[in-house]
Subunit: 244 residues, 2 copies
C-alpha cells in the first residue's frame, strides 16, 4: 500500500496533500522564549546562554545519528546540554530547577503569524509537524499556542533525526501519498535540501530574527525551493493560486 | 526521565493530566458509517456486512500480536478482511473501488457529543488518542469531524496493538507522567481492564448502539472503573469537580 517512488509525480503544487512543518525556528521563536526565561532565573548573559544552549543541539543530534550516543529524546539532549552550560557559566542550580528550566523548550512562543497561518492552510491541506522535538514537547507547544496541526510527527516516531531520509519518507508513508505530494515548510535550507533529495516539495520561510535581533539571518531566496515566503500567512496566500 | 512506577501515585482524579481515548466505537460510530457506505455501493445486507467487517478486526489484531502475521497497519488489515468478505458475499469489485471502500474507516462519523465533549475537556487535560488505528487513518478522522485532540497516539507508534501493556505505558512515557496521571476513556471493558492493570485510571463511556440499533449493548456500570459516563459531555461534567 505504501511503496515509495520518489519520481512518480513531478512537482506540481496542485497535487499537494500534506504540509509538514519544521517547528524550532520555523513555527516557534526559541531564541526570545529561552532568553527571557534564562534572564528571569539567572544572572548571566541570557542571550549568549540561549544561543549556546541551541548551539549544543546540532552536535548532540549528530552524535545520536553517528551512534556515539544511544537513541535519546530531545528533552534529554536539552538537559545534557543545560547541565554542561551551567558548569561552564558557573551557575549552581537544584535538580527541580534544572528540570523546570529545561521545560522552557515545551513552552516556546510562536511567531506572530504562526497560529493564524496554520488556520489559513488547514482547510486545504493535512498539516503535520516534522520535528526533531519529542511528542511530549510538541504536544505542550501546540497547547501553549493553539497551533492547528492535524497530527504531530516527530523523529521520536521514526527513531531517526532529521535530516535522515527516513523522516521525510516517513511523512509520505504515514499518509499513504507520494513524497511529491508532501511539502516541507522550514526556515532552514539544510532541512529543505534533504527533503528535496527525498522527492518532497519545499517552502522556505524567512525568520530573520531566529537567532535574535542582533544576529540577523540571511533570508535571501534559493531557487531550488518551490516556494519562498515571508511568513506562514504569505505561504497560505501563495498556495491559494494552486488549490483545486 | 521516564521511569515508570505504576504505584507511585494512588488513583486521585485531581492528579490527572492526560486523557487517552479509544476511538472506534468510543469517539466515532463505525457501525452506521460503514453500513451506510456499504449500502450505497453494494446490493447486500449492509448491516450484516458492516458487522462482519468489524468482527474480522479482533482476530486480525490477535494474529499480529501472536506473530502469525508480521506487523501490519489497520488499513491493510481492514483491506484483507474486506477482500475475504467480498468473496464470501460473492461481490465483484475493481481494485480502485476496493481501495476507496476501505477508506470509509478514515471518514467515520463521530457520535453527536464527541466534538463538543473533547472541546469541553481540552482546557483542563492533554487529550490524545490511544487507538489501534494507524496515524493516517486517525488524521483523516480528526479532520473529518474537527476532533480537538492535542496529539494522536497509535499502535503504529508503539508497534504493539492494544491490549499490549506497552501501549498504555507508552502514553505515560510520551508525556513523562505516571500511569496514574493518565486515564483511558473507552467504551470497551477489556481495553479498560488492560489499562487498569498498567496503573491507568479508567472511564467507561456508554455507547449502547455501537453494534447498531438492533444489537443494543449492555452498558451497565462496572465498579472497577473510576468513572462511568453516558457520553463525553457527561464525563467532562463529572471531571469539573476534580479540577485544581
Amino acid at each position: 500500500m505504501s511503496t515509495i517512488n520518489t519520481h512518480s509525480f513531478s512537482h506540481d503544487p496542485r497535487n499537494l496533500r500534506v504540509l509538514a512543518f519544521d517547528v524550532f525556528g520555523t513555527v516557534v521563536d526559541w531564541f526570545d522564549s529561552v532568553r527571557t526565561e534564562v534572564n528571569r532565573r539567572m544572572d548571566v548573559d541570557a542571550a549568549a546562554f540561549a544561543s549556546d544552549w541551541r548551539a549544543g543541539y546540532a552536535p548532540a543530534i549528530a552524535a545520536v545519528t553517528r551512534g556515539d550516543l544511544d537513541w535519546t529524546l530531545i528533552d534529554d539532549l536539552h538537559r545534557m546540554i543545560l547541565d554542561d552550560l551551567l558548569s561552564q557559566y558557573g551557575v549552581t542550580m537544584t535538580e527541580p530547577d534544572r528540570y523546570s528550566l529545561n521545560r522552557i523548550w515545551h513552552f516556546l512562543d510562536p511567531w506572530p503569524d504562526s497560529a493564524a497561518g496554520l488556520r489559513a492552510l488547514r482547510p486545504a491541506y493535512t498539516l503535520c509537524t516534522l520535528s526533531n522535538g519529542n511528542l511530549g514537547l510538541l504536544t505542550d507547544l501546540v497547547r501553549h499556542s493553539d497551533l492547528a496541526f492535524d497530527c504531530l510527527l516527530s523523529a521520536e516516531i521514526f527513531r531517526k533525526y532529521k535530516p535522515d531520509p527516513e523522516t521525510y519518507f516517513g511523512v509520505a508513508r504515514t499518509f499513504d501519498v507520494s513524497p511529491s505530494q508532501v511539502m516541507l515548510v522550514a526556515a532552514h535550507h539544510n532541512d529543505l535540501a534533504a527533503a528535496r533529495e527525498c522527492g518532497l516539495m519545499t517552502a522556505y520561510i524567512e525568520r530573520p530574527e531566529e537567532f535574535g535581533p542582533h544576529a540577523i539571518k540571511d533570508v535571501s531566496p534559493k531557487p531550488d525551493n518551490d516556494f519562498h515566503a515571508r511568513d506562514l500567512l504569505h505561504l497560505a496566500e501563495q498556495l491559494t493560486h494552486f488549490r483545486r
